[in-house]
C-alpha cells in the first residue's frame, strides 16, 4: 500500500454569520472540520453514521447531520451550529427554555436537539406534541426519556411566539 499524498483544500464559507476560511482534507466531514479544525466542539459526534443526530447543524437553514456532509461541500454556504444560537442579547429563547424547564440531563445530545428545535420552530411556530416527537425522532437521547425535551420545545415555541406563561 502506498501512502496517499495529502492535498488539503481551501474552503470559504459562513459559519454562525461570520466569514470563515479553512483548509481540510477532501475526505473530512463537516463534523470533523467544525470540531478538529475550527474548534467548534459544541457540535457532537455520537455515531458518525447519521443515526443519532448529535452532530445536527443547519446548512443554509436546512437541518443536516454534519457527519454526513463533507467539509468541502460547505463552500459558499452558511452553517449554523449551537455556538451561533446565543448572541449579544444573551441566550436564544430555545436555550432559555431548555435551561428553565430542565430539558436535558447529561447535555451531550442537547446541542443537536437545540439545532433541530430551531429548524422545527423556524418552519412551524406552533407544533403539536406529535409533530415535535416526529421531528426529533432523528435525535437520540439516552438520558431523559424525551418527556422533558418535548416540554422544553413547547416552552420554546411559547417564548418565541408571545409572552405566554408555560408550566415547566
Amino acid at each position: 500500500m502506498t501512502q496517499s499524498k495529502i492535498t488539503k483544500q481551501l474552503v470559504s464559507t459562513t459559519i454562525n454569520g461570520e466569514p470563515v476560511e479553512f483548509l481540510c482534507e477532501p475526505q473530512q466531514s463537516l463534523l470533523e472540520c467544525l470540531r478538529d479544525i475550527l474548534g467548534l466542539t459544541g457540535t457532537k459526534e455520537g455515531c458518525n453514521d447519521g443515526n443519532c443526530g448529535a452532530c445536527s447543524v443547519l446548512l443554509d437553514g436546512q437541518l443536516v447531520n454534519s457527519c454526513l456532509v463533507l467539509g468541502v461541500e460547505i463552500e459558499g454556504r452558511a452553517v449554523t451550529t449551537v455556538e451561533g444560537l446565543a448572541d449579544w442579547r444573551g441566550l436564544h429563547p430555545i436555550q432559555q427554555a431548555f435551561l428553565e424547564t430542565g430539558g436535558f440531563q447529561c447535555g451531550f445530545c442537547t446541542p443537536g436537539i437545540l439545532i433541530a428545535t430551531k429548524a422545527l420552530l423556524d418552519r412551524k411556530p406552533n407544533p403539536s406534541e406529535a409533530e415535535i416527537r416526529a421531528w426529533l425522532s432523528g435525535n437520540l437521547c439516552r438520558c431523559t426519556g424525551y418527556d422533558k425535551i418535548v416540554r422544553a420545545v413547547q416552552a420554546a415555541a411559547c417564548h418565541l411566539n408571545t409572552e405566554c406563561e408555560v408550566d415547566a
Partner: protein
C-alpha cells in the same frame, strides 16, 4: 410525611436551574472527545476481527516506519501480570495470547493525524489461528463447548472444579425448605426466559487524552464515572505510584454504569509516554458496542408457588448470565433483587457466571436486575392471574417490610415498597379505562414492581468560604446528570443560605479527597452526606471566628437563617463575618470524607398500556407511568428525569434492544440503526408519581433514584402484552417476530 430532620425545607425540594445548565445549552461544556492539548497527536486501536483466535504473531514494523507515526504499542509494552484478576484486566487492555471477542484490542498507534494513525494500524500484521466461538450462555456451559480460558475451573459450593470450564462460578442462596413450600402451594407456575446482551447506549463515546511528563507523571483527561477508579486502574496496569497519575474527569455524555470501567486510558498513557507527546484516542461507535462493557444476556428458569388465599409459599430460580470474555457478570445482584420485594418463606436461587466470546460485561444501571425482574415479575403476574387477584393486591399481600429476611441472607431496612404499590393502585393511570383499540388491534395493561438496593460507599466534599460570603463546593464525585446542583442544594439547606451563594464543581484526583465511582445511585445520597457534614463544620468554624471576633464564649454564638448572633447585641450576617475572619482565626474551609455503610433501597412500580397489532406483532405504548419511592426528592425535576429516562431505557430492553450474533460470534448490529434505542416517537409521555418514604440514615431522607426505574419495564410491558393478546413473551427484546411466534402466526425460528 416527616423527615428525620423535622424542619421544613427551604432549598431541598425546589426545581432550581442547574449550575451546569448554561454551558450545556450553549455547547461550551467540555466532554471527553472535546479535549485538545497543545502538541497533541492521535491514537487508533487495532482490534480483533475474530471472536476467538490464538495470536501467533504480531508484526508492527511496517506501521512503525510509516511517516507521521510516533508510537506503536501492544501487550508487550505492559508490565507482566501479577494475579488472575490482573491478567484479565491486562489482557482486556491488549490481548496477549488469545483474542476472545470481535473488537478485542490488539495494538495501538499514535500518529500526527487520525488518518495516519488508522492507516498505520492497518499495516500491523497479526497472524491468527481462528478457534470456534461461543456466544450463547447455555451453549458455553456444555461439556463440548470451546473453552475460553484453559486454566479456568468452576468455583462452586463444592470447591474448585477439576477440569476446564466456561462456568466461572456457581453460587446458591437457600432459605427454608423449597420442596415443602411447593407442596403447600395450590398454584405453581414454572417458566423459562431468555434475554439478550444490551448496551448502555450513552451517546458520548469513550475518549481519553493522556499527557506524559519527563518527571514520570501522567495527566489524563477522560470521560468517566470515577476519576479515582481510572487512576487506580492505570497505576495497577502500569505499575506506578498513585501520586504519579492525575486523572481529570470531563463532563460525561451519558454513562449508566458503562463508564465505571477504563478502556482507553492505559493505551493513551502508554502511547503518550512512548511518543513523548499528548495522545488523544476516541472510540468509534461500532467499537463502543463491540469492545466496551454491555450487560449480560441471560437465561432464567423460574418456579413459584402460592396458596389459594394469595400467599407465596416457595420460589426457586436458576440464573445463567453471560459474562463475556472474562468472569464478573452481575448474576449476584440479579439473584439478590429477583424476589427481593417479597417475603419468600422457602426459596432457592442458583446463579452461574459464564464466560462467552463477547465483550467483558460491565455495570449497566441496576446491574443484572432488569433481566431477573423480567423473569420473576412475569411469573408473579401469572400467579396473580391464576389466583384471580389484582396484580398489585397480590404483590402487596406478599411484600416485605422492615426487618423481613431476604433470600440473600440480608434483612430489609427502612423500605417504601408497599407505599409505592399503594400509590400505583391509587394513581390516575391505574384507574383510567384502557380505551377501545383501533380496528383489528388489541389492548392490554400490565404492571410490574422492581427493587434495587442502591449504594453508599466513599465520598469527599470540600467547602470553602470566600471573603464575600460566597462558597465553593468541590467534590471528587463525577456529576453525571446534575449532582453538582443536588449537592449544593443540600449544603445550602444546612447553611440556610441562598443556593446561588454556592458554586459547586468537580475536582480531579490531585486536588480532591477520594471518591468511589458515581454509580449505584449513590451521589446525591452519599456525597450529599459529605456535603451536609462539610456545611455543618463550616458553621461550627464560623461560630468560632465570631466568638474570637466578639471575644465571647463560642457556646454563646448561635446561627440561624444566615445570621450569627451572641447575646442581645452581637449580630452579623454570614457574609459580614466572612469578610472579617482575617485575624479572627483565618479563612474557613472544611473537607468531609465519608464511608457510608448503609443505604436505602428503592422500589419502582410501573404501569404500561399497550396496543398490539396481532397481524404484524408490533407493540405500541399508549400510556406509561412510573411510581417510585425516592426517600426525599432533592430536585423533583431531576428526579422525574431519572424516572422517565430509566423507564425509557427499560422500554428499549423490552421492545428493541439486543446484540445479534452470527454463528462465528460476530455482532451484526453494532450501530444505532440496527441496535435501535427508543426515539421520541417510540415512547409516550412518561408519567411520574414520586413517593417519599424518608430514609432515616440520611439527614433529609434521601434514597438513590437513578437505578430502580430501569428494573420493571420489560415485565410491565410483557404483562400488558399478555393481557392484550393472551400469550406470555419469554424473550427480550419482545420483537414482532417473537410475539408472532408466541401467537402461532409464524413458526419457530
Amino acid at each position: 410525611m416527616t423527615t428525620p430532620e423535622q424542619k421544613p425545607f427551604t432549598v431541598v425540594g425546589e426545581r432550581l436551574p442547574r449550575y451546569d445548565g448554561a454551558d450545556k445549552v450553549t455547547g461550551k461544556a467540555i466532554f471527553g472527545p472535546d479535549v485538545a492539548l497543545p502538541g497533541m497527536c492521535y491514537g487508533f486501536i487495532l482490534r480483533s476481527p475474530h471472536a476467538h483466535a490464538r495470536i501467533r504473531s504480531i508484526d508492527t514494523s511496517r506501521a512503525e516506519t510509516l511517516p507521521g507515526v510516533y508510537a506503536v504499542v501492544t501487550a508487550a509494552d505492559l508490565p507482566p501480570a501479577e494475579s488472575t484478576d490482573h491478567r484479565y484486566a491486562r489482557d482486556n487492555t491488549f490481548a496477549s495470547d488469545k483474542v476472545l471477542y470481535v473488537g478485542h484490542a490488539v495494538a495501538a498507534v499514535a500518529a500526527r493525524t487520525p488518518t495516519i494513525a488508522e492507516q498505520a494500524a492497518r499495516l500491523i500484521e497479526v497472524e491468527y489461528e481462528v478457534l470456534p466461538a461461543v456466544t450463547n450462555v447455555l451453549e458455553a456451559m456444555r461439556d463440548d463447548a470451546p473453552i475460553l480460558h484453559a486454566e479456568m475451573r468452576t468455583h462452586s459450593l463444592a470447591g474448585r472444579g477439576d477440569r476446564p470450564s466456561n462456568i466461572a462460578s456457581h453460587f446458591q442462596q437457600l432459605k427454608g425448605d423449597p420442596a415443602q413450600g411447593f407442596a403447600e402451594a395450590d398454584v405453581i407456575v414454572e417458566r423459562e426466559f431468555h434475554t439478550s446482551t444490551v448496551h448502555q447506549g450513552y451517546i458520548e463515546s469513550h475518549a481519553s487524552v493522556a499527557a506524559w511528563s519527563d518527571d514520570g507523571t501522567f495527566t489524563i483527561y477522560t470521560t468517566t464515572q470515577g476519576s479515582f477508579a481510572v487512576r487506580d486502574h492505570v497505576v495497577w496496569l502500569l505499575g506506578l505510584p498513585m501520586s504519579k497519575v492525575r486523572v481529570i474527569p470531563t463532563e460525561v455524555g451519558g454513562a449508566f454504569g458503562g463508564k465505571n470501567t477504563s478502556y482507553l486510558d492505559v493505551p493513551a498513557a502508554l502511547l503518550a509516554r512512548k511518543a513523548r507527546r499528548p495522545v488523544k484516542i476516541t472510540m468509534p461507535r461500532p467499537d463502543v458496542f463491540l469492545a466496551t462493557g454491555p450487560s449480560s444476556g441471560a437465561v432464567f428458569r423460574v418456579k413459584m408457588g402460592a396458596t389459594r388465599d394469595g400467599r407465596i409459599t416457595a420460589a426457586q430460580a436458576e440464573l445463567f448470565y453471560a459474562a463475556g470474555a472474562y468472569p464478573g457478570s452481575p448474576v449476584g445482584s440479579g439473584a439478590n433483587v429477583m424476589f427481593g420485594p417479597y417475603v419468600i418463606p422457602n426459596g432457592q436461587i442458583d446463579g452461574y457466571d459464564v464466560v462467552t466470546n463477547g465483550p467483558r460485561v460491565s455495570s449497566y444501571r441496576a446491574p443484572g436486575a432488569t433481566q431477573a425482574n423480567f423473569a420473576a415479575e412475569t411469573v408473579i403476574d401469572e400467579l396473580a392471574e391464576k389466583l384471580g387477584l389484582d396484580p398489585i393486591e397480590f404483590r402487596i399481600r406478599n411484600h416485605a417490610r422492615e426487618g423481613d429476611a431476604r433470600l440473600d441472607g440480608g434483612t430489609h431496612g427502612s423500605i417504601g415498597g408497599i407505599e409505592t404499590l399503594e400509590a400505583a393502585r391509587a394513581c390516575a393511570h391505574y384507574n383510567a379505562p384502557l380505551g377501545d383499540p383501533r380496528p383489528g388491534m388489541r389492548r392490554g395493561r400490565g404492571v410490574a414492581h422492581g427493587y434495587w438496593g442502591n449504594w453508599g460507599a466513599r465520598s469527599s466534599c470540600t467547602l470553602s468560604v470566600n471573603g464575600d460570603g460566597t462558597l465553593n463546593l468541590v467534590t471528587s464525585s463525577v456529576d453525571l446528570s446534575g449532582t453538582r446542583t443536588t449537592l449544593a442544594m443540600q449544603a445550602a439547606e444546612v447553611l440556610e443560605l441562598p443556593p446561588e451563594r454556592i458554586k459547586p464543581s468537580v475536582g480531579d484526583t490531585d486536588n480532591t479527597g477520594y471518591a468511589d465511582v458515581s454509580a449505584g445511585s449513590r451521589t446525591t445520597y452519599a456525597t450529599g452526606i459529605a456535603a451536609i457534614q462539610a456545611a455543618k463544620d463550616v458553621i461550627a468554624q464560623m461560630k468560632a471566628r465570631a466568638a474570637a471576633l466578639w471575644d465571647v464564649p463560642v457556646e454563646s454564638v448561635v446561627y440561624a437563617r444566615g445570621v450569627f448572633a451572641s447575646g442581645a447585641d452581637l449580630r452579623c450576617t454570614f457574609a459580614e463575618l466572612a469578610e472579617q475572619v482575617t485575624g479572627a482565626g483565618g479563612s474557613v474551609s472544611s473537607i468531609a470524607n465519608v464511608d457510608v455503610p448503609e443505604w436505602g433501597a428503592g422500589f419502582s412500580t410501573q404501569i404500561a398500556d399497550v396496543e398490539v397489532d396481532p397481524e404484524t406483532g408490533k407493540v405500541t405504548l399508549l400510556r406509561y407511568t412510573v411510581v417510585q419511592d425516592v426517600g426525599k426528592a432533592v430536585h423533583p425535576t431531576m428526579v422525574e428525569g431519572q424516572m422517565q429516562g430509566g423507564a425509557t431505557q427499560g422500554i428499549g430492553w423490552a421492545l428493541y434492544e439486543g446484540y445479534v450474533y452470527n454463528e462465528a460470534g460476530h455482532m451484526l448490529n453494532a450501530n444505532f440503526l440496527d441496535y435501535k434505542i427508543p426515539t421520541a416517537l417510540d415512547v409516550p409521555p412518561i408519567e411520574t408519581v414520586i413517593v417519599e418514604v424518608p430514609y432515616p440514615r440520611h439527614p433529609f431522607g434521601v434514597r438513590g433514584v437513578g437505578e430502580p426505574p430501569i428494573v420493571p419495564p420489560p415485565a410491565a410491558i410483557a404483562n400488558a402484552i399478555y393481557r392484550a393478546v393472551g400469550v406470555r413473551p419469554d424473550h427480550l427484546p419482545m420483537t414482532p417476530a417473537h410475539l408472532l411466534e408466541k401467537m402461532g402466526v409464524i413458526g419457530n425460528r
